[in-house]
C-alpha cells in the first residue's frame, strides 16, 4: 500500500497505524522511546522520594502543608477525561472519519490546556503563598523538576497534536498521516500514565504525610 494513495472507506485498512513500512517503524520506535521515558520519569520519582520534605530550616513548608485535594482531584479528572477523548479520536481515525477525529482531538487539546492552566495556577500559588520555590530547598527542586517535567510533556504534547491538526487540516486522512496521529495519541496516553503515579506518589502520599 502506498502512503500517498487516496483512500476510501473500502480501501482504508483495519490497522492504518501499521499499514506501511514507515508506519511499522514509527510504531516500534515510538514504543522504544516510551520505554526510555519510563526510565527517565522513574529516576525523577526516585529523586523526589529521596528528597521529599528535605528542607534546610523548620520555617519551610512540607508536603503535607502544601497540597490541596480539590485542585489535584480536578486536574486528575481533566487529564483522565482527555485520555478518553483521544481514544474517541483514534476510533474515528480507524473508521476513516477525518472530521470527527479532528473534533475529538480538538476537545483533547482544550482539556489539556485547562490542565496546564491549573498547573500554572498551582505553581504560582506555592511560590507566592508558601515561598516554596525551585531553589528554596532540596524538596522544592525535586518537586518542581518532577511535576514540571510532566507539565512540559503536556505542553509538548499539545503543540504536537495542534501542529498535526493544522498541517493535515486540508489533506484529510491518508496512510501517510494516520501513523502520525496514532503516535501522538500514544504519547498523550503516556502522559496520563505518568500523572497517575504523580497524583498517587506526590500528592496523595504527600497528604498522608
Amino acid at each position: 500500500m502506498h502512503a500517498e494513495e487516496k483512500m476510501t472507506h473500502e480501501t482504508w485498512p483495519a490497522s492504518p497505524e501499521k499499514a506501511t513500512l514507515e508506519a511499522k517503524n514509527k510504531f516500534l520506535g515510538f514504543w522504544f522511546f516510551l520505554g526510555g521515558e519510563t526510565v527517565l520519569f522513574a529516576s525523577l520519582f526516585a529523586t523526589y522520594l529521596a528528597l521529599k520534605d528535605k528542607v534546610p530550616t523548620a520555617d519551610h513548608v512540607l508536603a503535607k502543608d502544601l497540597f490541596e485535594m480539590p485542585l489535584v482531584f480536578l486536574m486528575t479528572m481533566i487529564l483522565l477525561t482527555s485520555s478518553l477523548t483521544s481514544v474517541y479520536a483514534m476510533y474515528h481515525m480507524k473508521n476513516f472519519n477525518f472530521k470527527k477525529m479532528q473534533l475529538w482531538l480538538g476537545i483533547t487539546v482544550l482539556l489539556g490546556l485547562s490542565f496546564l492552566g491549573l498547573e500554572i495556577y498551582e505553581f504560582n500559588h506555592y511560590v507566592h503563598e508558601f515561598h516554596h520555590t525551585f531553589s528554596s530547598s532540596a524538596f522544592g527542586s525535586a518537586f518542581y523538576t518532577l511535576v514540571g517535567f510532566h507539565g512540559a510533556h503536556v505542553a509538548f504534547g499539545l503543540c504536537w497534536i495542534v501542529s498535526l491538526m493544522i498541517r493535515n487540516a486540508k489533506r484529510g486522512l491518508s496512510l501517510y498521516n494516520a501513523p502520525k496521529f496514532y503516535t501522538a495519541s500514544l504519547y498523550w496516553h503516556y502522559i496520563d500514565v505518568v500523572w497517575v503515579f504523580i497524583f498517587t506518589v506526590v500528592y496523595l502520599m504527600g497528604m498522608v504525610g
Binding site: H9, E10, T11, P13, A14, S15, K18, L28, W31, F32, L34, G35, G36, E37, T38, V39, F41, A42, S43, F45, A46, T47, L49, A50, L51, K54, M69, F73, T76, M77, L80, S83, L84, V87, Y88, Y91, K94, N95, A138, L186, H189, Y190, D192, V193, V196, F197, F199, T200, V201, L204, M205, M207, V208, G209
Partner: protein
Amino acid sequence: MANQQSTSGNPRVDLEYRRKKNVEEMRYQVITFALMIFLTLIAFAAVGFGDVSNWFTIPFILLLAVVQVIFQLYYFMHMSHKGHEAPQLFLYSGALVGFLTVLAFMTIIWW
C-alpha cells in the same frame, strides 16, 4: 482480536464487520474509563476520609495506581492487541530499570 485484516473477498461485508468490531472495542474503552474513574475516586477517598493508618493507605493507593496504569496501557494504548510483543518488551524493561532506580534511591542511598 479486533482490527485485523480479514480475508473476505467482499469489501462491503468486511467493512460492516470492522465497523461492528470497532464499536464493540469502543464500548470496552468506555467501560475501562469508568473503572479508571472509580479507582481514582477510591484512592482520593482513602486519603481524604481515611482514618486508616498509613501503613495500609500507602500500599493500597499504590496498588490502585498500578491497576489503573495497566488499564491505560492494555486498553487505551492497545497493548492487549496482537503485534505488541516489542512494545511489551520495551515498556517492561523500562519499568524494571525504573523500579530498581526507585528501590536503590530509597534504600541504599542515604542523604
